[in-house]
Amino acid sequence: MFVTSAFAEETAPSVTGGETHSGTGVPAEAHGTFPPFDPATFPSQLLWLAITFGLFYLFLKKVAMPRIGGIIDVRNDRISQDLDQASKLKGEADAAVAAYEQELAEAKKNANSIGQQANDAAKTEADTARKKIEAALDERLGEAEARISSIKANAMKEVGSIAEDTASAIVEALVGGGKASKADIAAAVKSVAR
């Protein structure tokens, strides 16, 4: 820029000097005042600034900014939409987990009650079976006891008569001939048996 602008200075005045209509071309102006403060250039610069900046403003307002704003809006919409969807899906997942847990709890409860029922049924069955067997056993016990007592009674009865027979035989053998009366022997046996 700086080295070669020297060449630009060499060429510029010659080119523009040829083109300018008046004798006071760029060189005269250029060397007269400090260029940024040269009022001769103001109208042209203001005009072209107004034209270029005006067009730029219109272009940005009508074309470029709606487009960039649109892109950003679409992106923000998309992001919020995605977030909404994500939260919705999360809600669904939570609901599914809750439903699953409820079902699990219900199933557990059912299982418990079924188990309880089975347990109860088995218990009652066992009880009735036990009672039946006990009743049967009691019956047989009663029968056996009755038989034992009758046998005992018979035996006792027979023991009495055997004792009487034996006593009379002993008395006969000892005494010889003298027969003891049957009633006396029976009384004696009875008193001993007591």
Partner: protein, 252 residues
């Protein structure tokens, strides 16, 4: 010739490319006008072409356009609130125009549009004109409350109001001179240091060795000017936002 080489003012000369003269006014198409056109075309084409794919996930260039857009949008919203967004096209155009003009001016051989006070003054007048016209349209004479700060004793008003008026009037001047002077000074400095390189290296081996320092300076200054080009466009846009805020809310 040697004097011409280091003439730092040469780069600011206006050269007529297509002479136009209407009603005694010289309205020629000059190198300045050419670079205004170039600025507008470069800026518009960049914004237009980088966003042509309208990608949901932006590429690098589209990101740059979107960043510039949102940067200015946030700037304006922070300064002037959501009401200020009606001026968004104006502020965005100003920012892009000044930024691209400043950046184009950094290219060798290129003319710097914003190094002419009449250009920056034209832009500043556009801003202040918008503020004044919109302020009176929206608030009528209530816009004049801008010059009467709240909670100031009546006696002090005599002093405060003229100060406020002066500060308002000096706004277009400060706005335009800030940008113009920054660009002008930066380019002159660059030119001077680069001129040293040329002059010194013409002196032979010692001169070439001695020219390393100004060359390094020129490189560093170029980087600085790149920053200044952006910074001045930013400052111009921020001040525009603040002045527009005055038009929207004069009694603050």
């Amino acid at each position: 010739m040697a004097a011409d080489k280091v003439d730092p003012i040469h780069q600011f000369h206006i050269i007529k490319l297509v002479p136009i003269n209407i009603g005694g006014y010289d309205l020629s198409f000059t190198n300045s006008a050419l670079f205004m056109v170039a600025t507008v075309i470069v800026a518009a084409a960049f914004l237009y072409l980088t966003t042509s794919s309208r990608s949901l996930v932006p590429g690098r260039m589209q990101s740059v356009s979107e960043m510039a857009y949102e940067f200015v949008a946030n700037m304006l919203r922070d300064a002037a609130g959501t009401q200020g967004m009606k001026f968004f096209p104006l502020v965005f155009s100003l920012f892009m125009f000044v930024l691209v003009a400043n950046l184009l001016g950094l290219f060798p051989y290129f003319f710097t549009v914003t190094s002419h006070i009449i250009v920056t003054f034209g832009l500043a007048i556009l801003v202040i004109g918008t503020v004044i016209v919109y302020g009176f349209m929206k608030h009528g004479l209530g816009f004049l409350k801008l010059f009467v700060p709240k909670g100031v004793p009546l006696v002090m008003m005599v002093l405060v109001v003229p100060i406020e008026v002066i500060s308002f009037v000096s706004r277009p001047i400060s706005l335009s001179v800030r940008l113009f002077a920054n660009m002008l000074a930066g380019h002159i400095t660059l030119k001077v240091f680069s001129g040293f390189v040329v002059s010194l290296s013409a002196l032979g081996a010692v001169g070439v060795a001695g020219s390393i320092l100004p060359l390094a300076m020129a490189v560093a200054l170029t980087a600085l000017e790149l920053l200044v080009a952006f910074l001045q466009a930013y400052v111009f846009a921020v001040l525009t936002c603040m002045y527009l805020n005055d038009a929207l809310h004069p009694s603050h």
